[in-house]
């Protein structure tokens, strides 16, 4: 199995923020704000995702990255949360206002999700075959025989040998890596246009992580689908994502092509994140002081200001808007 370079070869130019393909973006967030139980979880998040692109949502806990994935999957919507702003997917103008029957047709069929812990995402009471066949029969209308054949194909392309025997197995009989492969197979069963992967390898051993990431990328590219990775590991994001959105406490700090955002970071938080990444030859670490703001006590203005070495009064007075600078979007009064 040769390893293909995980990211696309072309270096994005200054017009990089418009979709690399000359088409409408597949998913588009416009100033999305979300509050839950009166606490602000997302604050005017905006970014675009083109067809066939991989995008990384990176940040620490409370950044809102999983929340965005859940909203994009319709698992978190009003009235459980209050939202403002918009989310477009393909021809659906406002994902947030869709009624449940429309979501039922979208989920699994056009938008699909892989979760962090495969052991809890797979139902322990049903066999692998049963769980695979479920979307095939319900969403694609395949009959039992066709669903079984397709399930075997999917398991094989997910790298599980002895696929036919596995159909009768239960999730607990498989290792973590194999369970994740099954979850990938289920998620991609109906060839969705958008795959959301929420920390897909965090619960796995390190030598299995690389296999699974490669599998996800290969499968996504084979279908020309787009993929959003929710990650906390910047190095991993640099390996697999074409574009990246750096989030802090529900606000976008910096967003754009991964090369540009991670190599030529302009936002103090992106720099702070990079300074916390330990590599094999790291001699010293200089993390930012303090911790993330608690949900009930979000600072005014730029939420990173209390910890930012460049913060001024302006930063807490007014949230900096997201504007284009040097090939990426950045929300900072003092970039550079």
């Amino acid at each position: 199995m040769t390893h293909q370079p995980a990211r696309r070869a072309e270096m994005p130019g200054p017009e990089a923020l418009s979709s690399p393909r000359d088409r409408e973006p597949l998913l588009s967030l416009a100033a999305l704000s979300l509050a839950r139980n009166g606490h602000s979880v997302l604050d005017r998040v905006s970014f675009d995702l083109g067809r066939g692109e991989t995008l990384g949502l990176v940040g620490e806990s409370g950044a809102g990255k999983s929340t965005i994935a859940l909203v994009a999957m319709g698992l978190l919507r009003p009235p459980a949360v209050t939202v403002d702003g918009g989310m477009r997917f393909a021809e659906q103008d406002n994902l947030l206002a869709l009624p449940e029957p429309v979501w039922a047709a979208l989920r699994g069929r056009r938008i699909s999700m892989i979760f962090q812990d495969p052991a809890s995402a797979l139902d322990p009471c049903f066999t692998i075959g049963g769980q695979l066949a479920s979307p095939l029969r319900r969403l694609l209308g395949l009959d039992r025989g066709a669903a079984r054949r397709r399930s075997i194909e999917l398991l094989e392309s997910a790298g599980l040998n002895d696929a036919e025997a596995r159909l009768a197995a239960f999730p607990h009989e498989l290792s973590g890596g194999m369970q994740q492969r099954v979850m990938i197979a289920i998620a991609l069963a109906c060839n969705p246009e958008l795959l959301l992967a929420d920390e897909p390898t965090s619960a796995l051993d390190v030598t299995i992580q690389a296999q699974i990431m490669q599998l996800i990328l290969q499968q996504v590219r084979a279908r020309n689908a787009s993929c959003i990775f929710v990650l906390h590991d910047l190095a991993l994001a640099s390996q697999v994502c074409d574009r990246i959105v750096v989030l802090y406490a529900g606000q976008v700090a910096e967003a754009g092509p991964t090369e540009i955002v991670l190599r030529r970071s302009l936002h103090p938080y992106t720099n702070a994140l990079k300074s916390c990444v330990i590599e094999l030859d790291t001699e010293t670490l200089t993390p930012p002081e303090g911790g993330l703001p608690a949900l009930g006590a979000m600072p005014q203005g730029c939420r990173f200001a209390p910890r930012c070495p460049r913060a001024t009064a302006e930063c807490t007075a007014q949230t900096p808007p997201l504007r284009r600078l040097d090939g990426r979007d950045i929300a900072c009064w003092h970039p550079g």
Binding site: S175, D205, T207, M213, L217, S238, Q239, E259, T282
Partner: protein
Amino acid sequence: MTDASPIFQLLDVEKVYQIDRGRWSRLGRSPPRRLAALDGIRLTVQAGDSIALVGESGSGKSTLLRVLLGLTGSSDGRALYRGDDIETLTDAKRRSFQRDVAMIYQDARASLNPRLKALDLIGEPLRQHALCRAPELPERVASLLARVGMPADTADRYPSQLSGGQVRRVAIARALASEPKVIVADEAVSGLDVSTQAQLLNLLRGLQREMGLTLLFITHDLAVASYLCSRIAVMYLGRIVETGPTKEVLRRPLHPYTRALLNASPRFFEPIAETLPGEIPSPIDLPPGCRFAGRCPRAEPDCRAHEPPLGATHLDREVACLHPLID
């Protein structure tokens, strides 16, 4: 008491669990299956060492820790603390063992009684080992909290009122309370935000250097091992496959598994590297020969016949491989 004997010594320690095949096996008398969580471990920890135990699931690193702490007995071999067998310490020596060796758990929150305030949690080892008089307790706790970078009013809080990073710091403060000589940590910084992780790593490194502590640190992250510990021991399926100075081992690994671990850690802007095939095999009833042979890209016929012993190569490095990566 200057004691030249090493702090910990594991001599061919084995920990085998017998797994029944099921209730009918006792009728049919088929032999139970053997799970060798630890298989022939030899490790020496000198005072002041900082050793990282690195491995994936099934490597036996947690079992090793438990044997070192006396929580589990070994099925074979001997585990020694300062020359004495850990399982049969006299009362006095056991008390000094309990004082000198402190543990930081992976799940810091679970290791703190949710019904006690930080003051009582950190004060427990102080009381237990009678390290200070009752009226001085709050002051001592406050100074311990300051040492881990927490304000003194944390003492009045319950664990449920603290964030993940703060809970870890309280756990570290408690570990330091008994003025230990050895700190044993089981994945103490995994699962945290990178900024919290970096802060805690700096804290641990600073404490270790300041206090000359012996540190035994379990981690799956090679970069953390390199940052924190001067020596590393790589484990696979119950055996130590390589040891040596951390930077050396990570710069020039001798064992193919160590190299695979290195490759598997994501590095900025490098494409995903060649991966190890297959899954980590089950430790139950392992086939003979080198246990890594099934996945090793360099396996030769003799690898499947003989189990390579952990042998010294050049100064200070050991590797358990019949065909190490000497290039």
